[in-house]
């Protein structure tokens, strides 16, 4: 009987040591965390901006950088809302012992720009997406990633406006902030043309998008370097949605949330 028990025990141990066969279920280490949610109370710094990051998963660790580098396991750990005083790109990434790390969420904070005194529109925004009226793009407030946010002004035509400064003001550059959300048929502009004081013309061409990317608030900075009383800004929407997109051949939407004058 004892022998039988011993034999049974050995058999059980052998069974136990047998390498497991491949499980049919999905394994944790093959799946990534979602990007952390990052919320700022504003995006223009006068004194400071509060940044909050979150990913509601047990034992998750969020790390961040403010120098433009991708966060690593050695980066600063996010433990409480950050009071950011410096403009720049803040990047956040979630880490976990079992799940693959997330992609990076980044937010850009801007130094508060020069205040324009007025804006005159030469083309009309879409009735449905006209933001908070004519001054939306010079109100020093940026939009969320949601195109229905009323800080966005949407166009299905070229957007042309003239920004006025009552007193001639030295403008080093202008930043045009737009939405890249091709899944919603909202594309980066095709080109941007500036007419400085009705005279000097500057043109900036934007590379066409060649694949779908996560929706993102993007900016282009165009040097002005002049004393400015008026600045005509012409932002051309993409005239034809590229071949790879379901809306190919049709006109793309253009969504702008802010002009920033530095």
């Amino acid at each position: 009987m004892r022998l039988l028990i011993q034999l049974c025990f050995v058999f059980f141990v052998m069974l136990s040591c047998k390498q497991p066969t491949e499980t049919k279920f999905l394994q944790q280490n093959t799946i990534s965390l979602a990007q952390p949610r990052v919320i700022t109370n504003k995006t223009f710094i006068d004194s400071f901006v509060t940044i909050q990051a979150q990913l509601k998963v047990d034992d998750v660790v969020i790390r961040y950088t403010s120098n433009g580098e991708e966060p690593s396991l050695n980066s600063e750990k996010y433990t409480q809302p950050i009071q950011a005083v410096n403009p720049g790109v803040y990047k956040f990434k979630a880490f976990h012992n079992h799940w693959k790390p997330s992609e990076v969420t980044e937010v850009e904070l801007f130094k508060k720009g020069l205040s324009a005194d007025g804006i005159l529109w030469h083309t009309k925004a879409s009735e449905k997406y006209n933001g908070q009226g004519e001054k939306t793009l010079i109100n020093q407030t940026k939009a969320s990633l949601n195109f229905t946010d009323n800080e966005w002004v949407g166009f299905d035509t070229t957007a042309i406006s003239t920004v006025k400064f009552n007193k001639k003001t030295y403008v080093k550059s202008v930043t045009i902030s737009y939405l890249n959300d091709a899944a919603s048929w909202i594309f980066p502009p095709e080109r941007i043309i500036l007419f400085i004081n009705n005279d000097l013309k500057k043109e900036h061409v934007i590379k066409p998008l060649n694949q779908l990317v996560d929706r993102k608030n993007e900016t282009v900075i165009i040097p002005v370097e002049a004393e400015v009383s008026s600045l005509k800004i012409q932002v051309n929407n993409r005239q034809s949605i590229p071949e790879w997109h379901e809306g190919k051949g049709q006109k793309a939407w253009l969504f702008i949330d802010e002009f920033i004058f530095n």
Partner: protein
């Protein structure tokens, strides 16, 4: 037990995802199995279920699934090589049919005198089609011109149907003019209500509809207003009754199984990535109790906190089918032509 107590007590199972508990025995190979969901509704994930030869039996978008009376799983895709794919529960291919449904979107099982039929909505054909379970067309319904609410057939882009016990059925025009149309079993129009708008009785993207007879005394209709992140309830005559908000969740059709309501959530409203979907399950009180692939549902002051995807598992879930073993099959839209995912309840 109150909902809050229930959620609190179950917070150990919190936050959408868990590792499988270490069993302590020799068969620990499953300890890293993904487990998604919360509270009473938690699942392991099988990505291999139903995978077929992509050359012989391809899919494009997998739009909806139902289980038929024989227990088979019926999938509707908009791939016109085989619009309907019928699997057994193990994921083995049984048969296929259908080449004429380029916008095949809504799939509902209806039973008449012990026989299974299907109601298919096709937003490209602008029609609702009733077929036998093996694909013979019984009737086709065109746009409801007689209502005066449509200028032409192109405005009618039906997304879903639901059937009552007496054979009456309702059609949700979720990609069209947002009306809900009530027909008798012969396909004759009885009523129309809803329409596009943000009022209580209106919709933005009336994507799904479901007959709710859990309360036998007060049968009603549940209709998802996907863009609004709201589930709306109407009586069978089309009178608005209530709204159930699901903040952050673009819910597709409600699917009632026993006392619970299951949803595929196409995406998280505020996620940067579009492929940010998950699943959502409500209990008999219409409280969200589990969100596989997303945040733990939490109520503060009776208001549900915004839900969002926590792991990049689902892409764009578009429908769920719950089988008689409580497992869930997930059909996905725009997921790179992948076959459904099976979730096994644990």
């Amino acid at each position: 037990m109150s909902r809050r107590q229930f959620l609190k007590q179950s917070s150990l199972f919190s936050l959408g995802i868990l590792t499988y508990p270490m069993s302590g025995n020799a068969l620990e190979f499953s300890k890293n199995d993904v487990i998604i969901g919360h509270n009473t509704h938690r699942y392991k994930v099988n990505m291999n279920w139903g995978n077929l030869d992509t050359l012989k039996t391809p899919v494009k978008d997998c739009h909806e699934m139902v289980q038929d009376s024989k227990g088979r799983i019926v999938l509707l895709t908009n791939h016109t090589k085989n619009n309907i794919i019928i699997y057994d529960k193990s994921g083995k291919l049984v048969s296929t049919w259908g080449t004429q449904y380029p916008g095949g979107h809504g799939l509902t099982l209806m039973k008449e005198n012990g026989e299974d039929f299907l109601l298919i909505t096709d937003y490209e054909r602008h029609q609702v089609i009733k077929t036998t379970i093996d694909g013979k067309v019984v009737f086709e319904i065109d746009y409801p011109a007689e209502t005066g609410k449509y200028n032409d057939k192109a405005e009618f882009k039906p997304t879903e149907t639901t059937v009552l016990e007496n054979g009456d059925f309702y059609v949700a025009d979720g990609y069209g003019n947002q009306y809900i149309l009530h027909y008798n079993h012969k396909g004759e129009l009885l009523n129309v209500f809803g329409g596009r708008g943000t009022e209580n009785g209106q919709f933005l993207n009336a994507h799904g509809i479901c007959y709710d007879n859990r309360d036998k005394n007060k049968p009603s209709l549940l209709i998802s207003a996907r863009e609004m992140n709201v589930l709306k309830r109407f009586d069978l005559k089309g009178n608005y009754l209530e709204s159930i908000p699901v903040p952050g969740a673009l819910i597709c059709r409600p699917v009632i199984h026993k006392n619970d309501i299951y949803f595929a959530v196409l995406k998280s409203k505020n996620a940067p990535n579009s492929d940010s979907g998950f699943l959502l399950i409500m209990n008999e009180k219409n409280e969200v109790v589990s969100c596989p692939g997303a945040t733990l549902p939490e109520y503060k002051n009776n208001t549900l906190e915004e839900l969002y995807q926590t792991v990049r598992l689902f892409q764009h879930p578009h429908d769920v089918c719950i089988d008689d073993d409580e497992n869930i099959y997930v059909a996905q839209w725009n997921s790179g032509q992948t076959y459904p995912i099976k979730l096994t309840r644990v």
